[in-house]
Symmetry: C2
Subunit: 121 residues, 2 copies
């Protein structure tokens, strides 16, 4: 409830106490960024996401998906079958956020040559 | 040099070995995001940046600025005066990246009410 009261003020990530900063940390986390990008092209199962995101551990992927689901960026659908079948999708808000994250990643990818040359200089 | 050879392939942050992922980690780091946003409105001195970015320590701010300078996103200018006078600016590439980071943060700020309501549900 204290979180809600804070948004009577205009949210500002530069302010230490603003809850927007915590959410920003979720979507810019090491694996959060990559999960959002990987889900942009549609529904994925856990094992498929793990293959797409090079280097992610089972534990970190599960934790990242849970946090992004709690924020409302990811929809988790569990089908009542044996063995369990669970699918992950972006919500409409998640799609909007994923587009911003993707634009940032694409900007880095597109300018990588210049960046690596600067690092070497 | 091994980094440079990797960019013969199209950069892809989902690939564990692609150097674009390391750079993406710099600009999406806890403080990297906020430094880029804080520098968007122009030149800042260290002490001024530290005041603008709530909660950042001297050590973390210095380290973040150094990494972003090495990538070519930030220009550091030291004037040969006593006491030392050092200024930080975004480079043209840094400005481009900062705009993407800012768009992401603004998206979170604009939807914070919905996100907090989802967290509470």
């Amino acid at each position: 409830m204290s979180d809600i009261s804070l948004i009577d003020r205009k949210p500002d990530v530069l302010s230490e106490k603003c809850p927007s900063r915590r959410v920003l940390n979720h979507v810019t986390s090491r694996w959060g960024v990559l999960v959002l990008i990987a889900l942009q092209d549609g529904t994925h199962r856990f094992s498929n996401l793990r293959r797409r995101i090079g280097g992610v551990s089972e534990r970190m992927l599960a934790q990242t998906l849970r946090v992004l689901e709690e924020d409302g960026f990811i929809q988790r659908t569990a089908y009542p079958v044996v063995p369990p079948h669970v699918e992950y999708d972006l919500t409409p808000l998640g799609q909007t956020v994923a587009e911003k994250v993707h634009a940032l990643a694409a900007c880095i990818e597109d300018n990588l040559g210049q960046i690596l040359a600067t690092q070497d200089a």
